[in-house]
Structure formats: C-alpha cells, structure tokens
Amino acid sequence: MAIAAQPQMPRVWRAESKPHKFCPGCGHGIVLKALGEAVDALGIQERTIFGCDIGCSLLSWDFFNLDTIQTHHGRTTPVLVGIKRARPELVVVSYMGDGGAYAIGAQHLVSSASRNDLVTIIVVNNTVYAMTGGQMAPTTLPGQKTETTPYGRDVELTGRPMLGPELVAAIAPPGAYVARGSVANVVQLKNYIQKGLENQIQGRGIAFIEALSSCPTNWRTNAAETWRFLEKEMSAYFPVGELRTPEEKPAARLREVPAHGPKP
C-alpha cells in the first residue's frame, strides 16, 4: 500500500494528541521535538519516564508515547528522583519551565545537583511565567516588561536573570553534564539532550539542559520579533554551550533496589 506523506514527527511523539496544546510558535514544541529525536536515537522509549511540571510544560501530559506523569509546580524532579531511586533501570526525564526550576523548585534543583541524582532535567527558559499569563520569572531580562514588571524589570529591586546551568555547574560533583541550548539551534539542542540522557544511562550523574525558548503569546511578538528576542536578546544574556561534561568520571554507577514481598 502506498502511504501518503506523513509528518516527520519523532517516533515517540503521540500522533493522536497532535496538534499539541501549545500556542502557535511556542518553543516547547521544538524542545520536545529535540527530546523526541534523542529518545528515538537511543532507543529507550520502553524504559523512559517523562515527567512534566505545572507551567506550560503540563500541556505535554499526553504528548508522547511514553509513560508520563504530570506533577506539581516545581516538583517534577523530586517525583522522578523518587522513581529513579526505586527503579534505577528506568530513564527519567524531568521537564519544566524556568519558574518551576529556578524559583519554586530551586531547592530540589540544588539538592539533586549536589546529590548528583541520576535524572535528566530539561528546563525551558522563556523568560516568563507563561502558564499564568506572563509574570516576571527568575530569567526575565533586565528592563523586560512583564505583568508584574509593567514598567520593565528593575535590576536594583528584583535582581538579575538567574543563570541556571552556571548554578548547577558550580555545585554538581564530577560526572555531571550541564549545557545550555536554544530552540534556534535544534540540532545542537537535540545533541545536548541526547548526551544528557546518555549520562544518566551510564550512571555518571545528573544531566541538566536549559533550552532558550520562545513564548510569543506572553512576549506579544510576531514571528520576526520572536526570533529576534530569542537570538539576540536572550542569547546575549544566556550563553549557549556545554558547561560540564562527564568525561571527568568513568561510567559506572548502577544501583539496584530489589523487589520485596509478593510483587508481580
């Protein structure tokens, strides 16, 4: 049978839930494409658990043909760490926004980094609290107008944009993988995410990838302005690249939590 041309979605995308729930031009779709390609490339669909946060990431709760758990705002990493500690054979992906990662969930990020938890964390940095309608995020650029900085972010009063990968890189033990990519360079981003997944699979340590991403809805930008803000303003503040690679530490660590009692 001749099959008509079909969308080139990653195999692990769930076509039944497409078009997905993100807005037109939302970077989440691009990040999840990179993640999908990486999962495909590693052939780990059957043992990957995807966790999404509250924030626009929650809209991906039925995005993949992956066992998925949509958690609370900022709590995705603990839930997935809980899973990983219980079933180390699984590959866990913790997917969230900058607010979930750097504000309400910062204690979990810091602690997972210092514990070198075997989890791959992907943070979508769109400089705003998108889900709640565009308030200031820890990543909002100086002078940027948001719903809670209506006159532009005043760095004297509210500080400077959080540098997430830099923070993780400063405290994570050897074996960590830390990088910042961008939806403006999907191939590189996929590459980083794939390395991040491998780092977990090889038991080296935490993997942390921030993705610079777009939110045309809350930025109130058209396509051209969206790219400009992302590629010019954001990239100038948040340098793209790898901050930590795990070569320092040999692959190894695999912990087992054996089953007890009358389990199936």
Binding site: Q45, R75, A86, V257, P258, P262
Partner: protein, 361 residues
C-alpha cells in the same frame, strides 16, 4: 533474596520509632524517603541501620516537600514506599499528599505529632488530626489510623501499606511524640505467618511493553481544563471512598453501652481514657469508653448508637477540639450533651480524665 527481618513472634522492649522501622521492614517496604524532624528521627535512624541488611533503600531529601514527592515517585514506580514526618514537616507534606489524593496514589506516611502550631515543641500533641485528615486543598479522601500502643503501631503500619495499595487513598499512621519516644513491650511478627497477605504493588509507570504500540502509555495528570472533568474525577473518588468506608473504619469500645458518661478519645490518650473508665467503673461510676482507631473514615456507625444511649459524651484530647469537632459533626442530630477535656500539646493522665468525668455527674 534477602532474609526476612522477622521470623516467628518476637517480643521486645523498644521505642515506638524503632517499632515503626521494624514494621516497615516486616511489611516489605522497599524504600523510605525522609527528612529529619523530631520526634520522628529515629525511624530513619533505625531504617538506615537495618535497610542495607535487608536490601531496602533510603533517600534523605532536602525537605518534606521533596520527601512527599519522592514518596509519590516511589509508589508510581510500583514500590512499597513510605515517609515519616511531624509538625511543620506534616504541614509541608500536604502539598504532595494533595496530589496523591487527587491521583489516588498509595502513599504511606507515619506522622509523629508534636506540639503546634508552628515549631512549638518537639514533644507531643494531638494537634495534627485536622491536618492529617483534611490537609491540602481537597476533601480529605484519606485513610488515617491512630494507634495507641506499640503493638498497634506495629500492626497498623503494616495495615497502612495494605489499605493504601488496596483502596488507593493516601494512608497515614497518626502517632505522636510520646509513642515515638517511649519504650514498652511489643510483639513483632512476620505478617505472612499471621496470615496477613501483603497487597501486591503494581507500578503505574514503567510498565512492560512499548507504550503506544503494545499498550497505551500511562498518561497521569492532576490538572483538568474544565470544572466538569474535575467534578467527574472527584465524584468517582468520593463514591469509592464512601463505599470502602465501612470496611476500613475501626474502633474500640469498652463498657460503652448505656454509659452515664461516654469518654471518647483516640491514640495514646485513649489509654488514659480507658484506664480512667476502668477505675471509675470500679468506683461504681457508669462510665464508658469509645475510641476511634480510624479517624478517616470516622467510625460513625459504631459510635452513633452508643452515643445516643449515653447521658453525656466527654471528648478527651491533647488538642483544642479537633476530635470533638469530628465527633460533633458525625453525631449531628443526637441530643446527648458533649463536653471536651481539651489540653493542646499536653499529656493526659487517667486521673485527669476521671476528674473530668466526675465534674459531669
């Protein structure tokens, strides 16, 4: 496989925290997640000492929020997972428990109540009843056991795992600082040898088979777009909760029929209540004793007829009316007068209870 932690019946003299650790081992708990707080700490201390010997796991988290959510992760992965906390830690734990309540996750939490509100004391109280039964932004679809002795602590920790996994409601064992820290004799046993079958723990994620091809992927969420979707989910849960309530509710009563004063208590305070009632009976006072072993669901069917035939009800608790409110709400419609002997954060002795009873007659 590791050897069994307990074979046969073993009599011991130990603290309640040690009892909890042994009970979790005996129940086949796979992993404990926890954050230190007095008076719960020694549960973790014993667990970390014994866990490696029996191939169990432990994770010390960064706070109780994380302890709650990693526990959620553990049960999602299909493991018999638990945590323990108290006081302000119990307050923080509610966020994860609200999620467990919504998603019907069989988490098990041991609470060792301490003085409240706020940091208050590290000692003792019964002030976390309301929090444990109804904490979070929901309707309290939870199972809460309130044990009164080390023997019960052992039994109900084991039972908590089974109730959680059978009914899929977050389950709590509501102890207190006295029970945690006191030593008394206890009999430890292997549940299997007593004919207690541990419920099978089925994973909710990480199932076998390629998702989307060999099976549907698990897509678990706690967020809904429409009021009606949420209402449907809640209505189903409420129905199932109410259906299991009479099966799960437990209580204890002694000389409770036609009592002149029916003393109502829970947890460790019920020991003083019972001792007082025994002494009063010996002294010719027609006192009775009723104790709620499950606080959620509340054993209203058992209490109502006894309360209706009593002349006075006396609620005794180390809190300011938390049990009393539950009793009054449950018994609404009766006319038997209720009084409270309410001592937030204070231990209660049989003598005090007896005095309170006397003041009613």
């Amino acid at each position: 496989m590791a050897t069994k932690p307990i074979t046969g019946e073993q009599r011991a003299f130990m603290t309640g925290n040690e009892v909890v650790a042994w009970a979790a081992l005996a129940a086949g708990a796979d992993i404990m997640y926890g954050y230190p707080i007095t008076p719960q700490n020694e549960i973790m201390h014993y667990w970390t000492r014994m866990a490696p010997k029996y191939e169990r796991a432990f994770l010390q988290t960064e706070d109780e929020i994380s302890a709650g959510f990693t526990t959620v992760g553990g049960v999602l992965a299909g493991k018999r997972a638990f945590t323990a906390t108290a006081g302000p830690g119990n307050v923080l734990m509610q966020e994860a428990m609200a999620m467990a309540e919504m998603m019907r996750l069989p988490t098990v939490v041991v609470v060792t109540q301490r003085g409240g509100p706020s940091t208050a004391t590290v000692i003792y109280s019964q002030q976390e009843l309301n929090l444990t039964c109804f904490g979070g932004n929901g309707e309290g679809l939870r199972i809460v056991y309130s044990p009164a002795s080390h023997d019960e602590l052992f039994t109900y920790v084991i039972k908590a795992f089974n109730s959680a996994w059978k009914y899929r409601f977050p389950t709590f064992v509501l102890g207190d600082g006295y029970q945690s820290k006191m030593r008394e004799p206890v009999t430890l046993f292997d549940p299997e040898e007593r004919g207690i079958n541990m419920e099978v723990c089925r994973p909710m994620v990480g199932l076998p088979g390629l998702p989307g091809e060999e099976r549907d992927p698990a897509h678990l969420r706690n967020t809904y777009n429409l009021e009606d979707e949420l209402y449907q989910v809640l209505t189903d849960s409420i129905r199932e909760y109410e259906a299991m309530a009479s099966e799960v509710a437990e209580w204890d009563a002694w000389s409770a029929d036609e009592a002149e004063v029916l003393v109502i208590a829970h947890g460790v305070v019920s020991r003083a209540a019972r001792a007082a009632v025994e002494a009063l009976r010996q002294g010719g006072v027609q006192a009775g004793y009723f104790r709620s072993i499950t606080l959620r669901p509340f054993p209203v069917d058992a209490l109502r007829p006894l309360a209706s035939r009593a002349r006075h009800l006396l609620v005794v608790e180390s809190a300011y009316g938390q049990l009393q409110r539950l009793v009054q709400a449950s018994l609404y419609g009766l006319e038997t007068p209720v009084s409270g002997y309410l001592r937030p954060g204070m231990g209660i002795t049989p003598e005090e209870v007896a005095r309170a009873v006397h003041s009613l007659i």
